[in-house]
Subunit: 476 residues, 2 copies
Amino acid sequence: MLVFQNKQKRFGEWYREVLLDAGVLDQRFPLKGCNVWKEYGTKIMQNIMVLLENLLEQTGHSKMHFPLLIPENLFGKESQHLRGFEDQVFWVNRAGKRKTSRKLVIRPTSETAIYYMFSLWVRSHADLPMKVYQTVSVFRLETKSTKPLIRDREMWPFNEAHTVHATPEEAEKQIEIGIQVYKELLTRLPLPYLLVKKPEWELFPGALSAYEFYTLMPDGKVLETGSVNNLGQAFSKVFNITFEKYDGTRDYAHQTCYGQSERLLASVIAVHGDDHGLVLPTSIAPTSVVIVPILYAKGAEEVLNYARMIDRLLKEKGFTATLDQRELTPGEKFYYWEKRGIPIRLEVGLLETEHRTVTIVQRHTLQRKEAPLEDLVREIEEALNALDQDLLTRAESLMKEDMGSVSNLADVPDAVEKGKTILEVPFCGENNCKLLVEEETDMEIIGFSMERNTARRRCLVCVKEAKETAYLAATY
Amino acid sequence: MLVFQNKQKRFGEWYREVLLDAGVLDQRFPLKGCNVWKEYGTKIMQNIMVLLENLLEQTGHSKMHFPLLIPENLFGKESQHLRGFEDQVFWVNRAGKRKTSRKLVIRPTSETAIYYMFSLWVRSHADLPMKVYQTVSVFRLETKSTKPLIRDREMWPFNEAHTVHATPEEAEKQIEIGIQVYKELLTRLPLPYLLVKKPEWELFPGALSAYEFYTLMPDGKVLETGSVNNLGQAFSKVFNITFEKYDGTRDYAHQTCYGQSERLLASVIAVHGDDHGLVLPTSIAPTSVVIVPILYAKGAEEVLNYARMIDRLLKEKGFTATLDQRELTPGEKFYYWEKRGIPIRLEVGLLETEHRTVTIVQRHTLQRKEAPLEDLVREIEEALNALDQDLLTRAESLMKEDMGSVSNLADVPDAVEKGKTILEVPFCGENNCKLLVEEETDMEIIGFSMERNTARRRCLVCVKEAKETAYLAATY
């Protein structure tokens, strides 16, 4: 399709232009990786977070708010966690004109702050499970080059959920719930995803096992959009999160955590957008329908009244509608709302007013259609219903096109040449083979298939028995 | 009233107990002035912020999100602003294992971050007015002892609005709008307030003039709960926020800013609470009605079904209702919801079920009443409608009791002795008199009457002609 030419060919440039032109972000704040969220971006991002928070509330998670600053001794309690983040954290050691008595970390994530509180809150099995979440900013000194919404130093919004359980089985069940919540969220956006089990060397610092969601970006790279971690007792042993069991003995609790961020919006923009700008699904569009009256001296009052009547009608029927009465030309308004990806534009001019019709333009197809007023509500309902399915179908088919399968390292270049950017490969699990694959291909082993490998295939490198079906892709 | 004995006599202790027992905050995080917001506190605070944000949206303010970290050179641009905050800011100067190239301030407020962006966004009169706001955390090293929700080092949530205008008149008009928004907000909470013009020496760093809302706390001190500042061109000249006027010439813009914080919740708790815990107005209560089924072996199923029917009925009628089916005794449930200040409790036992009645208990009066089922909806409507008016009347009458008027410094101790904690006094405006008053009385001149002083009174100290009607009170 023509409308994808720029997006596909020069994705980086296209992406930055869309962020600016649609009023999502302004990147000119004089501190690298720290963005200014403009009105429109803030609204869409907030809508995404409302979807996520509602899913978390429905599955028994409680919203809380924990401090941003964490004393060094607390942050350093779990040594693996500390080592995992120490190159990336911002430190506070002055306040006013004095040195602080302890060094403080600006949270890169909140395990240590929250788990200290868990150690005070968890007393007995009756307190469990405990499930909390918060939506905040976190800070990481990204050493790779920053990319807005993808690799920021101030990550906002960052949604992190943390749970505590009495048994490993309950923790494992919670992992499934966390995965289910994220699947549901991605489906509403609607984004196709690849869900993998993370290889050991990619685990969140301190985690026992982890699962990662990836979305495919137009440049063929994959983006992490949600990780779910089973922490086992690693943190509970360090933070002394213990509880009295039914039998009166005490044990360390079992924990999970999972997180989401502004990368959800990066994916929505990159996956659904086109050369005209954003394309938003109904679930997060700040308004579903925009009405643009096309006014000339002749009949202006009648056209405006007709447009107002349509605006009232749609609002009565429960649609979010915006009547654009700004002093701009119709062309300027079309451009403005197209850039912003509003699902449906209604054009109302003299002809429409006289014929009691409306011109309906769908954003994601750019198709125009004139419909009689009495069919308007049904037409809009149908168009909105079709939109999310169309977006999902389109994105799924693009993802499918990019997915391939190879059995030998030697076949990788050929597959990549054919546009296969996510490769399913048989893998023995050994570090030597991992290193060789990654060196030879400029791709990474991003994770393993969730299904057990029963095909008795042989490792793409060493030809020993494959233990995993691995995915190979370039990452951000 | 008996229920106010603890609150009045030992307010500090009562306040901390309520915060803990009602599940608002946990103050045990090992960093002074940084609180953990628990589920219930987060919900109420969020409800207050939704009220405020809706009022801001309705008056044309756009929500945005600006970075937390501000480079030192940006923060220091306006010298008065810098001096006003330099003793209170947290500094970042390490990231990972390296020194940062510039020192970074953690925002104590966002003028400097936002006004840098304004200088990029404002080009012509057509861009004005510009009105933005954000709801974030800000950080100040409070040097006085911290007090949760009143004097925190992490202030969350902090809602700050910033506006830009073409003329001083428009900025002055915006000040009135800001004041109106805060008046409306306080009325919905519903909190009586004292609105004053701030004395020059109390101005926000960089401001031309300012207005402050105060609420009266049970210990007789007043709490700042909302300030509105006219910044004139102080910042626009430093940040170079200029625009092209209609006539083609350029001028510096005129600015205002106004802010609100978690102190709103401190006021709600302190003003409306009683010895049984929180008392919440309907506007912010997470649920209006809680239904407690009183179950014994006999008839348990019938009672529960009856309670469920009532729950459904209330939800159908648009009330927020919670059916408490936890495995606790009715007494434990009563205590739980009383502490949390839910406006109405319905008790449903075997008697009520057989008689088709409901026992209604109002939280703010603790009055009980049995009503036939068919009157329930009307009874609840009436009770909820009465609640906010009752709370306001009660709080207003307490505030009125505490307000007095004196004409001579010598009369102050006597007035204070009589329980007058906010004193209206005639004041010449001179610094000497201010210092003397504050030294002699342990109170401060918190501001001047909004009405012009026409009474030709004489200064309470020097007996020269009074220029202002000032308010004297002890502050937090």
